[in-house]
């Protein structure tokens, strides 16, 4: 049963470069430590060539020309580690979370999908590159051998069964353990390679360095047979980015959002998942707004909330980062943060992507992805609550409805409606306009509203209805259907209206017209 080890060299630097791809070709230095005494903890090859060494202070590192200096960010490291696990889980459910920069996975059964183990290793490597990580890959029948080979060589290194010891013999013994003490002992003995360690007698080694030494001897001989400690797959997809300079405008902010969305979508698609909901959390720079307090006649300051939240719920799972970015932009255009942004945190709720089968001879229905974007654009024109499908409320109040999200019909069919007499249409006047009505003998005879006036030729009513009288917003009204002869500029027209007398407000209103 072969195993694969995936190792991310210079993990701390790669975590930063994954968030800021522009840094990959520049000399980069990572600082950490108690403020303000920051020390250099990681240096990339370009910076090392310039002479930057580990342990330098921030001031000393800044003296090197062109060196990019970043503070260590734990959240970026956690996101990079999660991406590494996602890459492993995209191949096998049997994954061991060995270290922040190392994962091991079981390759059993993958050859039927990808062919040889070399192909599997290449696929794993390219999947990790797609997720922003440059990794070393080692494949062996032995878990520890695969891990040590991944530490030692960029790979992919494939070890044939039974040849583990040959592949390990030339590798330095320091790769076997991260415990510096034991490695120092071996160095004092003159044991520098795994081959030399494997050649030592086990009993003597046990007497000198204890059971830990025996374990290392077994590993160096390529005979270890430990099994994986399986990690449970998580469904937490989170990416964050802390900014050195706060971003104030939407354009540069959307550029950063796009980058995070790309990373999230790549992780999700690697796990064959899609985004159902995105929660965006923007940490804002503390800001103040001056407001004039008239009562006290002095200027007071009003503090903004420090965090801005935005939730984007999608009717169907989406994997397209560009579409998500457009939707987020439209949402932020409608309600933007009130202060510059200094940190972005994005969390995606995953779901299984929908598969849709279209028919050749069926009428087209709106493409769900395009539809969502179009609805967001229309909402930015007419307002969030003014677009959607109406849903009638289960109450007797006239014109009671609410707007709900419009979902395109799954597939257009050829169902035919039974032909029946058409119903008269009604046009609602929102909000209802007040009117003046003249009565004679209990019947309305004349009406004035919206600059119009007319003689009532037919009337039907009053139809009394009331409701919700047990609540504060109770209503009670008498409705009349009127046919009104309205005199226009050129001719006289007959129009039908529905008017109501609001018994609570003691006023007449025109609810709408029959058309």
């Amino acid at each position: 049963m072969p195993f694969c080890a995936i190792f991310v060299p210079e993990f701390l630097l790669q975590a930063v470069e994954r968030s800021e791809p522009a840094l990959s070709n520049k000399p980069l230095v990572l600082l950490d430590g108690p403020a303000p005494i920051f020390r250099v903890i990681a240096v990339n090859a370009t910076a090392r060539a310039l002479g930057v060494a580990l342990g330098l202070t921030k001031a000393a590192a800044a003296e090197f020309c062109g060196v990019e200096i970043r503070l260590r960010a734990k959240e970026q490291e956690a996101a990079a580690h999660a991406a590494l696990l996602d890459a492993a889980w995209s191949f096998s459910p049997r994954v061991e979370d060995t270290a922040q920069d190392t994962v091991l996975l079981d390759l059993a059964g993958l050859t039927t999908l990808f062919g040889s183990y070399e192909n599997v290793a290449l696929q794993i490597k390219s999947r990790c590159v797609a997720l922003g990580l440059d990794v070393h890959v080692g494949v062996s029948e032995n878990v520890e051998t695969a891990r040590i080979l991944a530490y030692a060589r960029p790979g992919p290194t494939i070890v044939p069964a039974g040849q583990e010891a040959r592949f390990l013999e030339s590798l330095p013994v320091g790769l076997l353990t991260r415990s510096g003490e034991l490695a120092e002992v071996f160095q004092q003995w003159g044991v520098t390679s795994c081959g030399a360690l494997a050649a030592l007698p086990v009993l003597s080694l046990s007497e000198c360095v204890g059971p830990e030494g025996v374990c290392l001897h077994t590993v160096a001989s390529g005979k270890g047979n430990r099994s994986l400690i399986i990690a449970e797959p998580t469904h937490l997809f989170e990416e964050s980015l802390e900014l050195d300079d706060a971003v104030e405008e939407l354009e540069p902010l959307s550029f950063l959002l796009g980058r995070l969305l790309d990373q999230l979508c790549a992780r999700l698609s690697a796990r064959a998942l899609a985004v159902r909901t995105i929660q965006l959390q923007l940490e804002l720079q503390p800001g103040f707004e001056k407001a004039f307090d008239a009562s006290r006649e002095r200027l007071r300051t009003k503090q903004f909330p420090e965090t801005f939240y935005c939730t984007l719920a999608l009717p169907r799972p989406v994997q397209d980062a560009k579409l998500l970015l457009k939707l987020l932009r439209l949402r932020l255009q409608a309600s933007s943060p009130k202060a510059p942004v200094r940190k972005i945190q994005m969390c995606a709720e995953p779901d299984r992507p929908l598969a849709m089968q279209c028919g050749l001879f069926l009428l087209a229905v709106p493409d769900p992805d395009k539809l969502e974007l179009m609805l967001a654009r229309i909402a930015s024109v007419v307002g969030e609550n003014n677009v959607g499908s109406p849903e009638l409320l289960d109450c007797h109040r006239p014109d009671a409805f609410r707007m709900q999200r419009f979902l395109a019909p799954a597939q257009a069919g050829s169902e035919q409606k039974e032909t029946e007499d058409p119903r008269i249409g009604f046009r609602v006047i929102r909000p209802r306009v007040s009117a003046r009505v003249e009565f004679q003998g209990g019947q309305p005879v004349h009406i004035w509203f919206q600059g119009k006036s007319g003689r009532v030729v037919h009337a039907s009513g009053p139809w009394r209805c009331s409701g919700e009288w047990w609540q504060e917003r109770g209503w009670q009204e008498d409705a009349w259907d009127l046919e009104v002869r309205v005199a226009g500029e050129a001719s006289v027209s007959s129009e039908a209206y529905c008017i109501v007398f609001d018994s609570l407000q003691k006023e007449w209103f025109v609810r709408g017209s029959y058309d």
Binding site: L363, V382, F401, E420, G425, I429, S460, D481, D515
Partner: protein, 288 residues
Amino acid sequence: MRSSTASLRLHVESALAGRVASPFRLRETRVPAVVPTGIPALDELVGGLPRGGLTEIYGPPCSGKTSILHSALASRTASSEACALVDAQDAFDPSGSQASGVLLQRLLWVRCHGLEQAFRSLDLLLHGGGFGFIALDLGDTPARLVRRVPLHVWFRLRRTVEDTSTVLLVLSRESNAKTCASLVLRVEKEKTRWSLQKRKTAAIAFHTPGCLLDGSACSAEIVRSLQWRKKLRFIDRANLREEDCEGMARFQVNFEQYVTEKALGEAAFLPLPENRQEKLPKRCKKKG
């Protein structure tokens, strides 16, 4: 002369090569597919609303435009098509339309407040594609405002909807799309139908089903149609005879609660006050 014409033709064709396929050949006019409006008389007159074309229905207030819209929406939503209504003055009545048979969950309602919002939303809808039926309701927008919409806007709408399977329906008080429309209908209300011509009950507290608004009788006339050529004649609408009604259709729209007398039965009617004593059963009369 002939050779110079041929050379000129060749010159024009070469100049327009890549932009216009064959400038001297008439474009084939295909018979567009049509969808029913749901009103038999109207469907008989115009055949239905053309797909890939702009249909304009105009008329004064209370002339039956909204009834046609609801009927068409009911027909299209019943066919599981995605429908959209761009409502320029937020005048759509969901309750009434559901009673007309519109499946509200298949209807996208865009509640606009003004022409600018309405036309921007309509553009987005048309470019988004996939909708089988899109209606622009300008019925409550003052005609003087709609008149200001430049002709090129209507032309753009026509070009956008062309070669698609979308029915674009515009409701307005006056005709504005002119030649950009594939079908233009003028609707007019002939009369409002009441159960009784004159209300005989003066008392407020007394109701009778005989005093209800039953509906209205409307007529529709083809003003322009690419499929149907109207004979030019002057019509005296006041003295219109049946044989002059070519290109016209009459239809009735009923009130939501309208029930025919046959369906209701005589027993359901309450007697009018003056006849009440006569209609009372003898046993009651004795007690009184």
